[in-house]
Structures are given as C-alpha cells and as structure tokens.
C-alpha cells in the first residue's frame, strides 16, 4: 500500500536558483509533462508491462533503479548521482502556476523499497558528479582544499545535509587523516538538502544548485537545510511505494530524485540488482 502524505508548502521558503543550459554527458531527465517513453523489459531483459502505457503524460518508468542509490544520499558522504538509476535518470516537471502536486514512486519489481526527494530547479542535462568546475573531493598539492562551489564562507559550522560540503576539513564526514579526508564524499547527491552539479561545458551556465523542497522515506530525516520530510515505510513488495502531495507549489521547474532505500553495503545482492519502478505526478490546476 502506498504511503501517502500531504505537505502544505511554506511559500516563503521556496527559492529559485540557477537553471541550466548547454550540457555534455550524464544526467538524463525523464519529463513527466511529456508522453511516457515506454520501458518494456526489466534490466535483465524479461518482458514487463509498463504501467505508463496508455497515459498521455505524468508517468515515466525506468528499469535501472538501484536498491541503494537514494539511501546513499542520506549519508554524510552523500550519494553518487549515477546510482539512483544507473542511467543517471532524474524526473522533472514544470508548473505554469502555483499548484497542488501529487507524486508517487512505485516499485514494479520486488526489492527496491522506493524513496524520493523533490527539489526546485533543474540540473544541467548531462551533469555529473566530480567536474573540475564543481569537484567532488578537490585537492591541491596533495592536500584537501575548499570546494569552489559548495563551501560556505567562513566562519561557519558545517552540519550534515545543510546544503554545503566541507571539502577542506571534512568536519561532517570524520575529519582528516593528515591533510586528506578520512571519509571522502562518495558523490554530490543529497537526499535531504540542496546540492549542485555541473557538466563538462561549465563554467558558468552549465552548473546549478537545486533547492531541497521535500522528501519521503522510511530512513530517518537528518536534514539541516529547511524543506519538509515525511516518514514513509519500508517495503520491498511489488506495487508498493511512496506518495507525496505538495500543496501550494510555486510555478517553476522541479526535479525528482527517486531511488531505492532497501540496503547499503557492498554485497552483490545489494549493489548489483537493477530494478523497475514508475514515477507518476498529477497537478491541480
């Protein structure tokens, strides 16, 4: 059974940040305002009926979700944006006017345990983690240095999921060993806060930060960057997932980062499966 929650958005907290233009490689948006691109096999090649069949819009599926991709984004070392789905898919929609939006993410194959986050703004198409303009764990002379895009101006005390990344002292991930991080960032995807990526064409128009709005998951919320979190439920059963209703969402572009929160660790049963899931959205008006 879906876990359904409604959030009334505090409009004063919604900020418009950078929006992208030209691009090069990697992030691939699935457009929920467009007709669905039907996905007719599982990742392993077995035929599967796409739940989006027959719909005119508001529904896009993928067969490439990982079981851990979204969960990694809740850790202090964040997640690799490639591993929400291994095709680096994100979902997007555009609102012409302030609207009430309902988003659902449902597993069509067992084992995924869906969860998702919603952000205002778009990443540059084909952006990816760790670009010279927006590096993941930057160094100079063999030692860590501050991120040119994600550092907060001092003085500042970094917190987990605060919308910034301390790549100078790694205070939120375990500090330094010598002058290098004990636990470097794994990626730039933050499930509970705003985050940024660039593409190979940067700078500067091909970099953007998307602003955290809301999330729904069974994983406990540890964010420190505003927004609203809804407690979901763990389930790996086919047909289950999470649903979120956002009331008073301002006009603009939005990004959905959807993935699994089923497991973590290095076991193949966690890292290797690529599973089928479907994201849907409706809006009023």
């Amino acid at each position: 059974m879906d876990h359904v929650q409604t959030i009334r958005m505090p409009l004063t907290t919604l900020l418009v940040l950078a929006v992208a233009s030209p691009a090069a490689a990697h992030v691939a948006y699935r457009n929920l305002d467009a007709a669905p691109t039907l996905v007719t096999t599982t990742f392993s090649g077995s035929p599967i009926a796409d739940p989006c069949a027959g719909k005119t819009s508001g529904c896009q599926s993928s067969n490439a979700f990982t079981r851990y991709g979204w969960l990694n984004g809740t850790s202090s070392t964040l997640g690799d944006s490639h591993f929400l789905t291994v095709n680096a898919e994100f979902w997007k929609f555009h609102l012409a006017v302030t609207s009430t939006v309902t988003i659902s993410f449902t597993q069509v194959q067992a084992g995924l345990d869906p969860a998702f986050s919603v952000y205002r703004g778009l990443l540059p198409t084909a952006a990816h983690d760790d670009i010279p303009f927006d590096p993941l764990n930057p160094t100079s002379g063999g030692c860590s240095i501050a991120s040119p895009t994600d550092a907060h101006s001092p003085p500042y005390v970094y917190l987990n999921h605060d919308g910034y990344r301390d790549t100078l002292n790694y205070t939120t991930t375990g500090g330094l060993v010598g002058c290098l991080p004990a636990n470097p960032y794994r990626g730039q995807f933050d499930a509970f806060a705003s985050w940024s990526m660039a593409n190979a064409n940067s700078p500067p128009g091909n970099w953007s930060r998307i602003t955290y709005i809301a999330s729904v998951s069974a994983t406990a919320f540890t964010g420190n960057n505003g927004g609203t979190h809804v407690n979901g439920t763990h389930s790996t059963t086919v047909g289950t997932g999470e649903t979120l209703t956002l009331v008073g969402l301002a006009a603009g572009d939005y990004t959905i980062a959807a993935g699994g929160e089923a497991c973590s660790g290095t076991a193949g049963s966690c890292t290797s499966p690529r599973l089928y899931g479907t994201v849907t959205y409706t809006h009023t008006p």
Binding site: F43, N87, T139, G268, S272, P273, R274
Partner: protein, 286 residues
Amino acid sequence: MKRTYVTLTAALASWGIMAPRQAEAHVCNILLSNPPITSVCGDPDNPDETASYTPQVRPDGTVFIEDPAFTGYGWSGGTNAVLGDSHELDGGNFFVFELKRLSGVIIGFANDSAANATPLDTAFSLYAGWLPNEAHDDTAFDPLNPVDDVTFLPVASPTDTAPFPHHRYTVLDRWRDTLHYTQTGGLDANGDPIHPFVGQFNALNDWSMATPDAVPGQPADGNWATIHYLAHRNSLGAGGTERLIALLPAGKYTIAAGGANCDDFAPASSCQLGPFYSGVVSLKVY
C-alpha cells in the same frame, strides 16, 4: 628519432565495426579531423543542451585538443582485473578519427605543464571502431554485474560471456565472467562476487558498451558496440608525452586517454581524490 611502425592491418581485417548513433547519455566521441569538425554531444531530446568540441590544427597538420578533466587513475583503472569505469578517463570523452585509406599516424598524449600543478602520467589505448555516443558502463543491454531478477544472484553477461564453451577466462580477457567471477576472485559463501567489476573499460583488450536505448533481446541498432584493442602507450612516467606511430588501414578508431599516476583505489587514497589534470591529445595523419 627512430620510428617504429606498428602494422595493424591484419588484426583489423576480420572485424565488423558498428556505426555510432546519438542516444541518451555519457560517451562523447570527439572527432580529431583536419580540417576541424565540431563534435556535438548531449541529449538529443534536448537539442539546446549539448556540448561541443572543436579541435585545433598545428602548422604541420597535427590535430589536437586540450581537455581539463583527466584523472590520475582513469587509464590505470582499466589495467586491473575488475576493469575501469569509462567515466573516469576524461568524464566520458573519447577521441576518435576515421581514415579513408591506409595511412601512417602519430598519436600523442601530452601533459599540459602550464595548467597542471603536478604532471599527468599520460597513457592511452588505441582501438578499432567507435563506441556509440552516450554509451556508458552498466546498461540493460550490456550490464556490468548482471543478476537474476528474483534471487539477485549472478548470471552470465548477455554481451560479454565468451561465445564458445569451455572458455578459460583470464584477467583482462576480452570476455567477462559475470557468472563465476573467476577473473576477479570468485564468489563468496552467499554466491555474491567477492570483487564485482568496477567498469567495462579494458585498457589492454577489446570491450563493449551500450546506450540506454539498446533494448535487451532486440537488435542493438547502433546503440551497442565492441571496440577492438590495437595498442597502448604508457612508458614515460609523469610529464612525458606518450606517442604511438602506426600504419593503419582505412576505418574508424578510438583513443581512450587517461592518467596512470596511481592505481590505489582505497577510499581515502590521494589517488582517488584528484586533482583533475589537463592533457593534450593529438593526431597526425600522413
């Protein structure tokens, strides 16, 4: 300077090369041509959101392009049993050229000393064929570490399993044993690979990738290709300019260029933590 030509004609004779086609995400084939032609990569569904690369030409006709996104470990990753992530070479950029006739070529990959605080240990591999634009490791058609949909236990790769019985898999084989992982350390007590493949980039042998548009069980239709290893260079150490001089038949070729400064993949190793390096890939055709 003594020039040693590597004649690769015979090795190429029997290979069919698949033509690339624009698809959805990741590999960007940057064409080295004289006169220069701009290569455009990106999402065809978003034509305004593309990247373009235009090489330059020196007075002697050498075509070259500088890129700032090489890692110090991207190429060396492809020399390991678990292979390398193709993203880590140069952010997914590969350098390609096409010969209309049998030609002598000099391929170079130089450290950009003006841009790099520490020198890049340049390395590259040359392959016959092109990968499809926007291909990447781990697609449904050509999965990295495939598993059964229900048990999540390893299964044979649909593309990289040896096509003949009793093949004895070896490290850096052209084929990948994703059923028993004999090349990377085998399976643990739960049946999971002890060391799954990191990527599909093989610096020393043939390898393949697909785009997300290639549908399992259907013809790849240009969205999957194998490129065929011809030679590699990495002998001069950091700061050197690696060169390959070869006589090549007409056809399409790919250069996979990256760093070999280090090969330590421990999570906090300085190898993995950067910096990015700038390098210059060049091609002279005679």
